[in-house]
Structure formats: structure tokens, C-alpha cells
Symmetry: C2
Subunit: 124 residues, 2 copies
């Protein structure tokens, strides 16, 4: 569990810096003290455009839980920002999938689904 947490933190930090280099203002959610309010892992803002990114660092596909989907839906509803699932695939870099597509797919994200629906960092 600690190892998973650590891996996720390293990936998130890496993405934060990449977005900063691309000119975004960036903020990450605290790992503790989220105060039970819905909130994605990272927010990146540029020219008034806001991206909300939930980060996953997994070797293989994954499923986002119903609870987390609900949280992200609530965040999207309130913020009206662009919500993305950011997946760091081992040896394959980051891919970003629009949240509404992940939602339609019931939270399931696999390699084929990501390749068909996602885009790379340079398109952000």
C-alpha cells in the first residue's frame, strides 16, 4: 500500500512539473485533510481554462470505483471544468481520457479504450 502510494505520488509530481513547464498554473490536492469534499488529484489552469485531472499510475488497466466516479461527477458539475483521467502507463507515458467517456464506460479503463479515446501530453 505504501509502495503504491509512493508510486502514485512520484507520477503526480512528475505530471505537475510537466504541466508547469507547459505554462500552466498547477495545484495538487493534499493527500490528507481533504475534508471529505470531492476533489481530483491535480488542477491545472492556463489562460482561464481549467483542467481537473485524476491521476492513475498503473501497469495495466483499472476500474474507477462508483464512489470516485460520483465524486468526480460532483466536481465536474460544480466547476464546469474539463475533467480528465490521467493514466501513467509504464514505459508508455501519460495518456489523458475525457471523464465523460470513462463514465460512459462505467469507470473501466484498459489499453485499447485509452488508445482509442485518449490523447497524449502534447495535446494538452
Amino acid at each position: 500500500m505504501v509502495k503504491k502510494y509512493r508510486k502514485g505520488y512520484v507520477a503526480e509530481r512528475e505530471l505537475l512539473h510537466k504541466l508547469y513547464e507547459k505554462g500552466y498554473a498547477v495545484i495538487r490536492a493534499p493527500k490528507s485533510g481533504r475534508l471529505n469534499l470531492p476533489c481530483p488529484d491535480l488542477i491545472a489552469i492556463k489562460n482561464g481554462k481549467t483542467l481537473s485531472i485524476e491521476c492513475k499510475s498503473r501497469k495495466n488497466g483499472f476500474q474507477i470505483s462508483k464512489d470516485q466516479l460520483d465524486e468526480l461527477k460532483e466536481w465536474e458539475r460544480r466547476s464546469e471544468s474539463k475533467v480528465l483521467i490521467g493514466w501513467k502507463r509504464s514505459y508508455n507515458g501519460w495518456i489523458f481520457i475525457p471523464f465523460d467517456l470513462v463514465l460512459k464506460n462505467k469507470g473501466n479503463v484498459g489499453n485499447k479504450f485509452a488508445d482509442e479515446n485518449g490523447f497524449k501530453l502534447d495535446k494538452l
Copy 2:
């Protein structure tokens, strides 16, 4: 120092919840692990409008350091969001002062300045 930190944290948490009740999506910056990137204390987003709030919980007036002013300027430049200084005054609730006015005033915020240039939570 610990007491001051605690007081600031309690005030920030209070504001976060007030903004959430007003329909904002809210995120607070972590107290540790800010990764040396400029970032205000709170971000609140509603209907695509983003507020960036640096929180101060002080009995009397205060001065924002040159370093912190520079950080907030950089954040404002990148995000093009509305940056505010949120001051929790003892017994007098929150008042919000536009960052550009605080900047013009060289970071100095006193009661008179805040009353003349700030607005209350119900105007957010």
C-alpha cells in the same frame, strides 16, 4: 508558530466549507509538498469562473512579503484567474481584497484599506 499554523488551518478549512456551501468546487493547497511551485492557499471554481485565494488569519493588519507577492503574480499571470487576499479578522468575519489592489499598496493590508477595497463573503 505551531499555534499560528493551527489558527490559519482552521480558518482556511472554515472558508473552504463556506465556499462549498455556496456551490463552488474547492481545493486547498497541501501545507507540505508544494514542490516549490507558486500556489495560493485555496482555489474555488464555479460555472467555469476560478477564484484563487490567499488566506490570512490575523487580528491586525499585515504585510505580504515581496516573495509571496511575486509568487501570486506568477500564479495570476499563468492562470488568468481572479486572485484575492482573504482576511479573516477576529470578530469581523472574512473580507476579500483584489490582489491587484494589494499589489499596488505594496502588500500592505490594514483595516481601513480592507474596508475601502474589500468585499464580504456574500459578494463572492
